[in-house]
Structure formats: C-alpha cells, structure tokens
C-alpha cells in the first residue's frame, strides 16, 4: 500500500515537495535528512541534486539519493 507511493529521492521531480520515509545513511540523517522531514529538489544533474530541507540547502550525490526513499507530499 505504502510502497506504491515510495520513490528514490534520485527520481524526485524538481520543485515538488517530498517527505523522507527511509534514509539508511547515518551521516545524511544527522544532517537533517531524517525520516519524516520534508524535502524539495531544486536542481539535478547526472551526478548531484540540490535539495532544500528546512532552511538548509545541500548538494547531494545521486548515488546517495538512490538509497533515500521519499513520498510525495500533496
């Protein structure tokens, strides 16, 4: 039921809001990408994404984004 709405962050669409459902990486979790936080993708290229979490903006590698599962927030 939930899985249908889950996508990896790397497939997130620009300028849409997502909620992090599962981030398995402690380092990025500690940076504020914790489960339940809302995230917005501003830019992407084939290596990185620029994301907004709260007031923070990060460059995040696509490889890392593949492992972070998110759900679109309507």
């Amino acid at each position: 039921m939930i899985n249908e709405n889950l996508i990896p962050l790397s497939k997130a669409v620009i300028n849409c809001k997502y909620k992090i459902v599962d981030n398995p990486n402690q380092k990025y979790f500690e940076l504020g990408l914790y489960n339940g936080s809302e995230i917005n993708v501003f830019k992407t290229n084939d290596r990185n994404l620029v994301i907004a979490v709260g007031a923070s903006r990060y460059i995040l590698p696509q490889k890392v984004a593949k492992d972070i599962m998110v759900m679109k927030v309507e």
């Binding site: 380092k27 290229n45 903006r57 460059i59």
Partner: protein
Amino acid sequence: MNVAKKNKIIALTGNPNSGKTTLFNALTGTNQRIGNWPGVTVEKKTGFLNTVKSISNQQVEIVDLPGIYSLTSYSIDEEIARSFIINETPDLIINIVDVTNLERNLYLTTQLLQLRKPMIVCLNMMDLAEKMGTKIDLKLFEGFLGCPVVPISALKKAGIEEIKHHIENVELPDCLIDTKNKSCYVSDVKIPYDEFIVKEIDALIPDINGIAIKLSLDPFWFALKMLENDPFVIKLVNDFTELIPNRQTRDILLEKAEQAINRLHRHTKMQVGILIADGRYSYIKGICREILKKQQTDKITISDKIDKVLLHPFVGIPFFMIVIYLKFMFSITLSGPFIDFIDIFFGGLFIDGFSVLLTNINLPEWLIIFLADGIGGGITTVMTFIPPIFFIFLVLSFLEESGYMARVAFIMDKFMHWLGLSGKSIIPMVVGFGCTVPAIMATRTLENKRDRLMTIMLVPFISCGAKIPVYVMFAMLFFPEKAGLVIFLLYLTGFFLAIITGQIIKRLAFKGEPSEFVMELPAYHLPTFNGVFLHTWQRLKGFISRAGKTILIVIILLTMINAVPIRTNPYTGENDTILTYVGKAITPVFIPMGIEKDNWQATVSLVVGLFAKEAIVGSFEALYITEIDTFDGDWSISEVYVEAKDTFLEDMGVALQSIIYPFKSIDDLAEEYENDMLINQKRQFKNIHQVIAYLLFILIYAPCVAAIAVAYKEAGRKLATVQLVYLTILAWIVATIYYNIAVFTALSIIWFCIAGIAFAGLLVMFDKIKIDISSEIKPNSIAFPTEKNMEE
C-alpha cells in the same frame, strides 16, 4: 593571596558557517578570516578574551574550532573539532547555533549536552530570525536544554557582554551554577531514546564506567557511542591497555557492545546509529514546537531564485569562467594607473629624493647607490605590486563573502570527477588563487584520503598571489598591450596542466573513484563593504609584510653577495662573484628552454624563488642593475607629485576605456613601466619565446618552501617529495618543448627526445610509487588520546 591559575579554556563549536569565527573575533578582538561557505576554518585557532577585567587572575583562552554537524566525524577538520571537545576538556563549551536553521543546529547541541560538560548555547543571527518573523521563548528553551541560552548577533557584536559574564561565572569544579540566573552550566537533560536503547545502555554502563570516568567522559554518552559503533570510541577501548590491561577483557567488552547492537537491530529493524539520531531529532522537534512562537517555514528564498540561474548547466560554467576572467581583467587593467602613480611618485621619493638627500650629506657613492637604488628601489618595487594583488584579493574576498564559492563545487563537479576528483576539491583550488598554503590546508574538509592527496598534488598548478608580481613585471614589460590577457592565459595553462596531471595520476598513483560529497549551500549574502575590505586588507597586509621583507632581504643579500668577487675569470677577465659562479654553473640546465649562457641572473632568480615566489622580483631588482646613475638634477616633491597625478589620471581614463571596450589596446598603460632594471632585463631576454618559456617554468616549478612544508605536514614526506620532483621536471619539460617548437632548430629534436625521456621517467615514478590511500591520515595537529597524554 593572588595565585595565578592555569588558563581558562573556552571552546567555540557549532555547525559550519554558523558564525563561530565571527564570534571568536568579537570575543578576542582579532580579525581571523571568515567567509560565507562551510569549511573556512580547518584548524583550531586560539586567542585571548578581549576584556579589561582580569578574571580571577586567569587568562581566558578562546579556541575557535572547525564546524561540525555532529560528534561523529567524517573529515580531518571535523576530527580536530571533536577531538578537542572530547580530549581537551575545555572549561566551557560555547555552542553557536544558527537560529535561522534551528532544528539542524540543535542536533549537535543535543550531543554536546550529553557530554555533561559546562556549556552555554548562543543563538546567533537572532536579528535575522526576528526579521523572518521567528520568535523564541528563551526561558522555556533554557529549561529544555538545561543550560544558559544567550541570544546574540556575532556580526553586530550584540550579546557579547552576556557571554563574557558567563565565561567569568563558570568555574570548575566547585561552581557550576550561573549565579545571576541560577541556571546550571552542566545540563542534566535526558533525551527520551527508544526504551530498548536505554536498556542496553544501562547494561553496558557498569562495564565502561571506569574507562569513561578515567577519560573524563560521561558513561551514558560513552555507551551511546559504543552502540553507534563509533570508530573513535572503539579505538579508545582497544588502545587503553592501562585501563583494561587484559586483552580478553577488552574483547569481551567490545563483544558485549556488538551483541547489544545486534539485539537492537533485531528488535527495531533499524540501524542503531539511525535509531539514536531519530531519538534526538524527535526530541528536537518537540522542543521547537514548544519554544517557537512562530514556526519556521520553508519558502523559496532569493538565494534559491539566484541558484535557479547560476546552477543551470548552460549558465553555471560560462558564468564561473567569466567571473575568473573578469577577476584578472579588472585586477590588471585597473591596477595599471596605480602602478604608474606609485612608480613615479614613490620612485621619485625613495630613489631620486633619497639619493639627493644622501648626496647632500656627503655619503660615499657606493652607499648612496646601495641605500637609494637598492633599498629605495626595493621598497618602490614592492609597492608597485600592491595594486594588482589588492584587486585580486578584493575579488576573491567578494566571492567568499557572497556564498558563491560553495556553488562552484556543484557547477564544477562533473568536470572535477572527470579529472579524478570530487567537486568539493575545487574549493581548495579557488583558495589557491590567494596562497597555496591555506589551499593545502583547505583539503582537510575532503573526507576521502585519495581526494585529499590528489588535490594537494594539483593545487600548486593554480598560480598563487605571490606569482602575480612576477607575471605583472614580465607581462607589462614584454606584452604591454595584452598584459591582462597574458596573465589570464598563464592561469589557464596552469589549469590545463592540472587536468593533464590529474588524468595521469588518477590512472597511475591514485587509482580508484573520487568520493561522493555532500555540501551545504549557504544563503547568498550581499558582501558588506567593511567585510570585503577588512578581509582584503588582512590578506594584503600579510602580502606586504611577507613580500616586503622577502624582497628587501633578497635585494640586500644579493647586492652584498654580488659585490664581493671570489675570482677573476681567466677567459673574460671579469670578476666573478659567488652568484655569477653558481648562476653560470646552473644555467646550462636551462639553455634548452631558451635561457642564454650570460643570463645567469634568470637562473639565480629561479633558485631564490624557491624560498618565496615574490622574491624572484627582488632578485631581478638586485641582479639586473648593472649601471646606476645617481640622481643629480633638481628634485622637487611637488613636481614628482604633479607628474604622478597627471599620469594616473591619464592612465585611469585609458583603463576605464579598456574595461568598457575590452579589445582596445592599452599600450599607454605600460609605457611608463620601464626602468634601468627592466631595460637590462629586456636586453637579457632576446625574444618573447624565451620570456614565455621562462614564465611557463615559473608557473609550474616547485612551490615555495612554506607550501612544501605544509604538503609534507599534511600529506607526508613521500608525496611532498614526489610533488617537488614532478613539478620541477615538468616545468623544465613544458618550457623546453614550448621554446623548441617556437624556435625550431636541428638541436630541438634532441631536446624533444630528452624531454620525452624525462616525461616517461615521471610516468614510471607515478606507476612505481606506492602512496597509501587506504586509511585516513592524521595531521600532527590532531591529538588522539594516548595513555601518556591522559596521564599528563
């Protein structure tokens, strides 16, 4: 009885870019470098509290630490910060929290609170947060954190007195209560972790209690870190043979922790580190809900709108290239009129005027020449290089203050990855435009050892500020119409050679993939006039002081050494000094790149340049002067000033025109840029290809001793030696190949072959050299706890 106690030590810690160094400057009255990008501070800096009142006969030492997001360290700069907080047991921790980004900043705060050390929390940028409508219930906040909370604006120096009050109040070990506010400095806050975690910690504490207390660490925190499988804590247990002499007992303890981790994983189906972090964030969210009278909302900011344009794939790289080009164009073109003014006015003052003065007091001619032309000329030379350096530092400071630097990492990541590096490596390289030493230090922010070492290898290809005087001197003299363009092309050549080197070393010495990087993008700030100029002035002051001393010392030493003959040349009958002797002995090595046999001064200058690149200019000043006419006309300061002013105004008109019409010739700018020394220098270089080859050699060859020393400290003896050998031989190869292509003769084929063999030798060196890139290195400044220093 007044007894001097040991210094009180105060640690400033917080997230990167939260304003720690700004607060450090406010507390200590110093002007440490700040910038609007994460990673400006890569080592701990100390200063003393700037107060007229002595605190209990103690000096208060303030330590500014590199920024960290948590007490789990991933890079060397983070390790330095964490190591200090944990090992050095400061008397007070000041945790600087960027209140505009409260949740993320409080993550570190919750970890620090659990260390159970005296601490205050400073809410920085309160003014900005209030403008954004954020209101905080401070009393409630203090209650939640269990330690004093001080609202401040480090930039505006608001709240500094209150921090000083707390620094004065905190004492160890008898008084941990803020007498004014009756609040406690050592928090007893309990973060409501998952019950399974608490149970496992309670089970571990009896086993680790002794070791934690011996290390002045809180047992709960220590146990928590063991469950996180933190390598730092695991290492402590493994290495502390004094506390747990029995290897088997240590293994049992580690096994217990491992079993606890496995049990937690089975119960919760989550990684324990994530579970603990989740507990902290749940607690933080709860606090924020209670204390924020108006919640912080996510909205599209002006920075986001700017980034939409500047981070666009078709705009990003061209914009970056334009920024770099404009930096040189402005620096060289705009500095031209100032150079002329300084040359005419101060040259008139320090050389001609000084010469007249010395003549009037009847000093011997040799002394007049030494003082007026040597020292006076040296001072004038140093001063003429201030304008281009100033403009370059100005642009660099503007970039750093604006927040653009961090964006460059994103823009250049693809390119850097192709080079074998991560995008984050571009930041040390941009810092390298100023000086190679801080650029090498800036590699500490790179988490992967391979990326660090590779970046250290490539940083010297970015010409530092000290090379600018050399480039300007040659470019203005030999390419007056296109001086700016020539200097820009030199920088581009350095960049191009960095690419080639990157391609080579990633295949031979640094095999493997560059690491992925995460980087915070700070909000753009319109740089303040004061901030940019202060930052520029600090760098310029450093340059003037260093270059002034170096150039003057070189001029004096070389003039003196060159005045003492050691033998008479049997063939020419000329008196040889030690410099001419050594210079002539080495010069044949440089003949393939166009240095002629009698141009030994150029060779000596290269050797001198090993000590400091700007010293090359001083060496030229001392060695190319062959005949000096002492000034014997009527000298008037007002005439000199009028001439300098008129020239300045005329040149400024031309310079502004050339900025508006960039392709127009600016030859008027450089026509004054000639003197005896430069005319002689011009004579010794017979054609422009000799000059270009010589400049290429200067661009590439070994960095100065300070940079070599830092490379040695940061990357080890092997890499520093490889770098020195590689750069010097590569410089010779490139200069030789260029020169022989430009003036092709039959002999050129032999030089091409020798250059080819030398290049092959370099490839073999990289292939055979075994540089350890597997484990992280420890710079000397990191103090890991050992049994010895724990006893101390």
